[in-house]
Structure formats: C-alpha cells, structure tokens
Amino acid sequence: MRLFRIYLLSALLHLKEHLIYRASVLIWLFSMLLEPVVFMMVWRAVALAEGGSAGGYTQGTLTAYYLALMVVNHLTFTWIMHEYAYRIREGVLAGQLLYPLHPIHRDVTMNATYKLLGLVLFIPAFLLLSVFLKPEFQFEPWQVLAFLPTLALAAAMRFLMEWAVAQTAFWYIETSSFNQAYYVATMFFSGRIAPISMFPDWLSAVARYLPFWLGVALPVETLLGSLTPEEVMSGMVIQAAWLAFFAGLVAWVWSRAVRRFGAVGG
C-alpha cells in the first residue's frame, strides 16, 4: 500500500518532469521510431527484388513485423545503462541512497511514465505508417491474448536485465564500450536487424533462448502469429526463468555495488 502510494506520487512527478523536457523526450522518441522504419525499408526492398517475398515474409508481413516491433521495443527498452555512470559521477546516486527506498523503484515509475507519454507519438506513427505501407496483420484472438503476458514478461525481464547491466558502471566508469557491446548484441539477437528466422538456422535456434529475443521479438511474433501456441508457451517459461535470474542478479550486484560505492565514494 505504501509502495503503491509512492509509485503514484512519483509517477505524477516524473510525468511532469518529462513534460518539462518535452523537446528532449520528443527527440528520443523520434530516434527510437526511426530505427525499425529504416530496417523495414531495407527488407521491403529485399522482398521486392526477390519477387515479393524473402525468407517467408512478404512486403506486407515485413511491414507488420516492424511496425509491431517499433511499438514493442518502445515499451520494453530502458536507457538506464547510458545514464548510470553519470548518476554516480554527478552524485545523483548518492542523493538517492539517502532515501529509505531502493532506487530501482524510481526507475520503474520513470520508465513507465515515459512509455505512457511515448504512446502519444507511437500510436499515431503506427496508424499513419499503416495507412501508407499497408501491413498485413492476421490477428487470431489467442494471439492477441497471449501477446499481453509475453509483453509484460518481456518488459519486466528486460528492465531487470538492463538495470543489472547498468551496475557495471560501479566498476568501470568508462562504460561506453561495454554499452556498445550490449547494443550490438541486442541488435543482432532481438530481431531488430532482421526477423530471427532470416538468420542461419543454428543462430536463430540459439537466439530463441536468449533474453534479447525474448525481450522484444517474442511478443511481436506472438502477435503476428508466426509462432505456434507451444512455442509461445515455452517462450513464456524461458522468459519467466530469465526474469527470476535477473531479479536475483540485481539483488546480488546491487548489494555489492553499494558496498563498493561506500568504499570508494561517489
């Protein structure tokens, strides 16, 4: 109950903050929007050159894939790891440690409100692009129903994973290379460069067990119906396993990070 109240209040606060920095927020949202659109165009060009379809996707289904991915990626991504070194350096974290509340809660509401606000841009963009590019969606009711829990699991799992990754800033202040490595891994394995089935079979088989794919593409492919109900089920089980793993990792890394922070200072 106490936590709920805190969430509500801090959500309002963050919403206000985002509104004050609306120009920055808009710019970030725009850049998130552009990446999937570029890859969509590349793959549409490929499909066109190959007589209408490539790797089992037509122009219409490719468009549907990337439009869905655009929204899902927005809903599950975080920017914490790019900010963490700054937080430590500038003493923001030291301030947060004074509160009798784990700093992760603040990030939860900050992310949630940001995403809510982002939908104001993403939904119109989705509709507009749909009008021009004519995606082929075939929604079965079970796909839509299964989409929601996979999305929720994906968001929670990815949030904890990236929060854990962000903690490396306690040990390496120069985090840009590490973040870049993480970025390249997500680009490849989360289906943002291409639907994972476009990769060599062994690679796509491995990717389906990795949190990158589970954090973005699993909900997308569930919604589009390119997975069987069994595949979706097992996907959710693996998501849950990763979620538990990252929750443990966050707790473990955080306790060590705080000790280190106390030792070396901010």
């Binding site: 920095y21 120009a23 920055s24 710019i27 970030w28 725009f30 850049s31 552009l34 990446e35 570029v38 165009m41 590349v42 793959w43 060009a45 490929v46 050159a49 190959e50 490539a54 790797g55 120069e174 840009s176 290379s177 870049q180 490595a181 970025y183 390249v184 680009m187 490849f188 460069i193 291409a194 476009m198 990769f199 060599p200």
Partner: protein, 261 residues
C-alpha cells in the same frame, strides 16, 4: 594561409589534449570494431536473401559502409566535438569568448575542437573502400577518382551544414544536447543506399535531411552507379545547405542572449 595556421594550432592542441587520455583510444578501437561488426553483420544477413539490393552488390555495400565510416570519422574528428563545445558554451556562457575572437564565428566553431582518436573510424573507412574496390575488381579512371573526391567534399559540406542547422537551435533552446541523438538516428539512414528507400523518402533524404545522399553519392561514384545527369546536385545541394546554415547562424547570433549574466 591564416586559416591553415589557425586549424593547425587547434589540431595541435587537440592532439595534446587527447594524448592525456589514452584510455579513450582503446575505447574508440573497441567501439569502432563493434560498429563494423554490426554493419557487416547486417549486410551479410540481407545478402543471405538477395543478390542485389537496389542495384548494389554486397561488395558495393561494403564500400558504402566504408564511405559511411569516413564521413562519420570526419564528423567525430571535429564537427561533433566543435558543436558540442559550442552548445556547452551557450549554456555556460563560454561561447562569449568565441564571439570575441576576430574570425568568423561559424568557421571558428567548426575547427575549434579536434578528437584525434576518431581517425580510427576514418582510416578503417578508407581501408574498407580500398579493400572492397580491390575485391570487386574496381577499375577506376582518373576521372572517377577526381569525381569521388568532389562528391566526398560535397558530402562533407552538406553534413557540416546540416549539423549547423540542427545545432543553431541552441541559441533558442539552451538544452538541446539531444541534437546529437537526432543526427545519429538520421545518420542511420545513410548506412544503406538511397535506392533502398521509396521515392518520397528518397527525396526527403536528399533535399531535407541530406545525410544519406552525402554518403551514397561518393560510394555510387566509385561503384560506377552515378548518373551523370544527377551531377548538378553535387554542387546545388551543398550550396543550398551551406547557405541555409549560414543564414540560421547569423540570425542565431543576433538572438543570442548569453547564459544568464
């Protein structure tokens, strides 16, 4: 002569500064390597499913990525750090000292900072262009090579002018560091040849956000895909963007009110 001297002194200072932070060199190497991994990886995946993208072969695309890295190296070498310092200066008021100097402020901002480690990107780009030319059995005439340098120069000017058009908004909105995000995301479009994009988008990426055009032109020249009919654009587009950035800058300076006194 004067200009060469001023640039030379600034480059020297930049090198002296960067040599103090050698860790950045390692970081730059890792980041460049990862960047190439991503770029080449994407191309390989695409070409698993087709032989020609637009009318570009896989080798052509690697050449394009080479040109892309050269342009990015150029940007990171001085365009980005210069504009970053300028925006920072607007916020802290240090930009006042730029305006006090007896040389064109726009010129000064673009040559003031110099990040030597970005040469890694630039040189790898050159390497990729040469390698893809060699593998692709490129036979370039002297004319083609001259044309390549001309289009490259046009590309640099367009990108520089475009940065300034974005960056000038710092005169109005003090908090615009995210301009870098705008550029980076738009610059992603330049990883692929213009022909990938549908007609309307292609026009947008040539005349409104000319970054993809700036990279495609030189690569197309080398790959022998440049239509001589579109050569006039090589002069017109840079001229237009440089003029616009100039006007923006002048208006911006008039509007500049300094960080709170």
């Amino acid at each position: 002569m004067y200009l060469a001297r001023v640039i030379g002194v600034h480059a020297r200072i930049g090198i002296l500064k960067d040599l103090q932070y050698r860790v950045n060199f390692a970081g730059q190497l890792v980041n460049s390597a990862l960047g190439f991994l991503l770029a080449i990886g994407s191309i390989l995946v695409v070409f698993r499913h087709t032989d020609l993208l637009g009318d570009w072969t896989q080798t052509d695309l690697i050449m394009l990525i080479g040109v892309f890295s050269i342009v990015r190296g150029f940007i990171n070498l001085f365009v980005r750090p210069g504009l970053q310092a300028y925006m920072e200066g607007i916020r802290t008021g240090l930009f006042d000292y730029v305006l006090l100097k007896p040389l064109d402020s726009q010129l000064y901002v673009s040559i003031r900072e110099f990040r030597i480690w970005s040469l890694v990107d630039l040189l790898t780009g050159v390497g990729l262009v040469v390698w893809s030319g060699w593998v692709g059995g490129l036979e370039a005439s002297l004319f083609t090579i001259v044309l390549f340098f001309v289009t490259m120069l046009a590309g640099f000017s367009v990108v520089l002018a475009f940065w300034f058009i974005l960056g000038t908004s710092a005169f109005w909105f003090i908090k615009v560091d995210n301009i870098f995000v705008v550029f980076d995301s738009l610059f992603q479009t330049a990883r692929w040849p213009l022909t990938v994009y549908p007609g309307a988008v292609r026009i947008l990426l040539t005349f409104v956000v000319p970054v993809a055009w700036a990279v495609t032109m030189p690569a197309a020249t080398l790959a022998g895909k440049l239509e001589i009919g579109s050569l006039w654009l090589t002069l017109l587009v840079p001229a237009f963007f440089v003029a616009v950035s100039r006007i923006f800058w002048k208006i911006g300076i008039r509007h500049y009110s300094g960080a709170s006194a």
